[in-house]
Symmetry: D2
């Protein structure tokens, strides 16, 4: 009796070759393909292809709504940017994919899960850490990491096993895409002194080719999440796709980042995330309007920790759960509208309003010269600076002045 | 025998009126005006004006080089942006001004220092905290905060005391400027839903009016500080002024920020910092290339703390000294060249190189498929995810999966 | 028609004198006294005394259960120790007292609240910040801060207004106590080189006078809170009182702390918190057993922030709410029993067990030499140290070695 | 021609067997043994033993002074306690040992370094990460990790290669010791519900067996480091040994800790660090007296990061260098004397004095009722609580009160 394995199947050569390879290892292969927002991905075609190449069963799942609501939403609420730059595009789809694979494995009494990552990237960590977290007893196969094949050997093996080999040259780039953005690495980009060529981009035009007229977009937020574009209510996944389109036309959302991978090396990445750029700019701006100061100043520490946890493949972890509890609590007041200007590669918040604004016009009298007590200020300064004042008294008033003069 | 007081003198109506007011309180007034990079500021004229209005002595100091080297430099090395937005423009000149005032007070045996801040802003805190830190025994006068005058009463008092009253209307804005940038508040900006009008800006053109052709600038860094523009070596203060000019023409460096003031209220600020935008973009990009990962991931916490300390007027404090010691140590490897593209309001790092690059081409073989051990990756993942794996084993593998499915 | 004011009434001279003083200012005074665990406090007697001295109404409230459940519980779950030493004793009762005062003010249409704090301590901040947060329109009176009386003048005023004056000398110490502990300052303690004398303590014996035999106590936790002592289930407030008694007899819980007050000065405090010492030692120990590593390493940052917020009077704030959401989420696994040894001033966790233990015996095979893959370790080390390895390759292997040799 | 390898040699069975094993692999073995404070370690005997077992050269190094000055000192200055408990005893000797091995390897043109760690602990990471950092080209051998031998096979191999086999049973514990402390794991300790038995300890007596009379010790600090005990100046290494002796007699410094290892598992450790307990208690107490508040509140974040870096084997890293720069800068004012009471397992700071005290008696007038401006306090509170006050005004004053009432 054979064991069943669930394979994360993309339809490409690598994961297609993996099917006979896993069969050789004694598995029955259940293929799963998921759409999380790749443009033009035909998941029904991919589903069929898996069966032709030897899978005993094949699933095609539309995961866009779930992806947006459960995986992108925390990034928006948390202003999550890895190393201040990267909105975690690929790091977000991995936990969703694994969750689906584990569910299907359980339904089918499968004993193992296979993924198509190589041994040099972050994704292998994200896939395997998620599997361990969701089912520590599940076995893992990483055929691509284990092939140890040259390109020629892979094609040879594909032909022997009736796996269709794509005609023409392989793309010079390694691409990953979902509705939150697109990642591009390798090729000419490997030299950080090379500027990214035009063909490295797909979701955005060059700023130079963007319209000469700015476009303004009003984004409405409820509890930290965007719910309407220019007044039109949309589910999150549709809203992101719409903004990808709008902002991409203005050349917004290009990121050129030298990045620290979890596996210890630096890589140079070209990302495109036009919708993310608009949403995250607006979200931060609305927090500036509605957040109490101490909250505003501590949340970035929570954000950075959550960002690193997600980037590092630890989505399913008690720390992420606790960090998200903090962030969710903070978002109750993040309601309102932000007007963003799109123009030649920029997305800038230019106006904002909120019923939760702590800069509300009804507060004007409170903060006016009349009510803002100037003696309060004098007293405040005295106590605010008392610790450093005493420090100077004790440790020598001239010390600092001299040191600064050097 | 009268007591001497040193006054931070701007030449404007408020600090001019302060001179007879302080004389009335029994002081001999020593006026000090400092140039830290305001465009077209004629400090010799201001120096003379103070004498005409009643000062017994008047100093005019060119502080641009010292300002750049001692006060702006830490901001560059630390990527310091208050609330992620504001490069601390005004917060930087205050400690320098006070340092000069205290030095002059000591030289002249003055017993007090006067500043022209109002009671609602951050500057009063910065001035007074710096005075306390540099000389805890120095008395402080804050005439503007204590006037309690209407505009009409102030003009009346000015005329009575032969203080020249400027003709025409007062600007609708409250401006502060130095070579690191320009701050603008009040007026129509007080409603956050109003877009900033064209006349709120001075150092930058609107992106729409910027050239249709991008300009590229190569910025050379040594130990974290920019030392050359397109290969031309410049002292820091000149380099900043040059980049203000270059980047301002491209509409770079506009910031529209709802900000938490130290005194507890939110304000809406329009900043322009074109040179800062270019330098800080390039500096962060070069750190991405040269910083070891753990350093890259911890430094932001140090940066945020230093930013808040400086914003909050605690420049002269043992914590700032210690934070700067951390940052200075980190900058030893931040050497190299970053190419920045200026175009229609954007300053983007598009290429970078460094002898300290941790993404060096000589490392290519080290990180290639051949030398990057894929079994190392498998082992790494196993131990990396072991804590969350054990957590799942103990606390129930289905728990997480279920919770995520809700 | 007179305005009503609600007074936080202790029964002592200061707040008794405050009653006629507030009546003189035109208020009708409603006195409120609360028992949050002071030993031997007779709140009915205090209630009556307020009426005799002139209050129009007087409330006596037993707040012990609410104090323990809503105010002490977060301290336990958060391991909250201000500056690593002080379990926030007094800082915890202030928000509860104010909450009660505000509720009573609303019920009675009072327009103001009065508290008895002086102008040099933290409590005034905690009282007034809590009032502002719970009702920003409520007026505040701080009679003690405003008396500007000498001791003799106060007694004079008391006699004139039929306020009973206590016979005998005032205690050399300033004491505050609740069920979570006891704070003692001033007097001989003001010189940090003086050792605290025997009469500074009340809840604890000197370690030298404690029993020569150790006592062991088993503390059972559910979701981070202690629920049973040696198997006996108790509500939290009773459990704390019981442990105060048990641990106090062993001299446990004495703290001698030079502390940074919010108002900018250092003070020297003698605290006693015997029950807190036992509970917090056990709680941290149980977290060590049940917490996943990343959570264990990040929570201290959340803890420190929450500690400072509470110490600084910002209990009612959106940041505290979010921090508590983090902490509550983390406590789901903190279940089990910890055995604590009480002996001569020490409370040490000597054994612990939990169904959520991540050091569970059923994991033994998982972590034994057989299953703990040694090649995994080798791979882990390679990638774990890769960033610093590359750093050394680029920046010179001898550099570090030399620098360390100096 | 054979290659040379430098072996970290302890004189025990494992590293003795490693010598022939490495010879078999084609190496000439240079043995190095280091004394960092193990009691009764005879390094000359060990040096000779290595030669007898086959080493071509053998070094015996007294590293105690260097260990104290360069590796223990940062722990003292940083109050470094892993997970709040463990003063990093073993984690400190590893970098020094490797530094010596690398220096000797360079002197002898050796191509590799061998260490005796197993595959389940932290030490392998610390050894190998340090080697990579000091010489990324150096090869590494980990014979114990690679033996894959049973105890019987190891003894067999030892006998075949004339390696002396110790008579009698192996200790039930795995011990590591240096002058900063002693670590003990395994055996009966593996069940966290078992109390540590008496024979688990060596440096300390049981508190019950400690003298009935307390002993007081005055510890003098200069720039954060202890320089004298009861007035007697001592070099750091001698001072630590002396305090180990003094405090060990009083049962001070026992730690029972469930700990998160870097390799992903929890372990239960029994540590003894009597001198460390006294020094670190006194050091923190002196910081409380001399540290400005903001510095006091931020340094713990730096401390925790440095602790984790050192525990995790990243001593030689740019982040550690920068963190130490912060800490060194902070220590300039940490001068003075702390009196510590040793009694029945406790080391408590009971008195302290410093010329840098920010609680100086000469400040008394400054902080007395006369000079401490009570109106300053009122103003301070107003602005301090303004952000939360405005938050309440906007988001509903009853909201909080209601929520807290639940």
């Amino acid at each position: 009796m054979t064991k069943k394995i669930v394979l994360a199947y993309s339809g490409g050569l690598d994961t297609s070759v993996a099917i006979p390879w896993l069969i050789d290892k004694g598995y029955e292969v259940i293929a799963v393909t998921l759409n999380v927002g790749e443009v033009d991905k035909d998941i029904e075609f991919i589903k069929e292809k898996a069966l032709k190449v030897g899978a005993i069963e094949s699933y095609a799942i539309d995961g866009m709504a779930e992806f947006a609501d459960d995986y992108v939403a925390p990034v928006i609420k948390g202003n999550l940017l890895y190393e201040g730059e990267y909105p975690l595009v690929s790091a977000l789809s991995r936990p969703l994919i694994i969750k689906k694979l584990v569910d299907i494995a359980h339904e089918n009494d499968a004993v193992a899960i296979a993924h198509g990552s190589t041994g040099k990237g972050n994704d292998q960590v994200r896939f395997e850490a998620a599997i361990h977290a969701l089912d520590p007893d599940m076995a893992i196969e990483a055929p691509i990491r284990d092939f140890h094949w040259s390109r020629e050997e892979e094609i040879e093996y594909a032909k022997e096993h009736n796996v269709p080999v794509p005609i023409g040259l392989k793309s010079p780039y390694s691409i990953d895409q979902n509705l939150w953005g697109r990642a591009n690495e390798a090729g000419i980009l490997e030299n950080p002194w090379n500027q990214a060529p035009a063909d490295a981009y797909e979701l955005t035009v060059a700023p130079e080719e963007a319209p000469d007229e700015a476009e303004f977009v009003d984004l409405t937020f409820e509890k930290g999440l965007p719910v309407a574009v220019n007044g039109e209510k949309l589910p999150l996944w549709k809203l992101i796709l719409k903004l990808n389109d709008m902002a991409g036309k203005h050349g917004v959302g290009r990121i050129d980042h030298i990045e620290n991978r979890l596996v210890g090396i630096k890589s140079r990445e070209i990302y495109e995330a036009p919708g993310a750029a608009v949403i995250m700019t607006a979200h931060k701006d609305l927090e500036d309007l509605t957040f109490e100061r101490d909250l505003a100043h501590f949340k970035p520490i929570v954000e950075q920790q959550l960002t690193n946890m997600i980037y590092n493949g630890l989505w399913f972890s008690p720390l992420c759960d606790a960090l998200n509890a903090f962030i969710d609590k903070s978002q109750e007041v993040v309601n309102g509208v932000v007007k963003v200007k799109l123009y030649k590669g920029t997305a800038v918040a230019v106006a904002r309003q909120s019923k939760n604004s702590l800069y509300d016009e009804s507060l004007a009298t409170y903060t006016s010269a009349d009510s803002f007590d100037q003696e309060a200020a004098a007293g405040f300064i005295k106590l605010w600076s008392l610790p450093t004042t005493v420090y100077s008294q004790v440790n020598g008033k001239t010390a600092k002045s001299t040191e600064q003069s050097k």
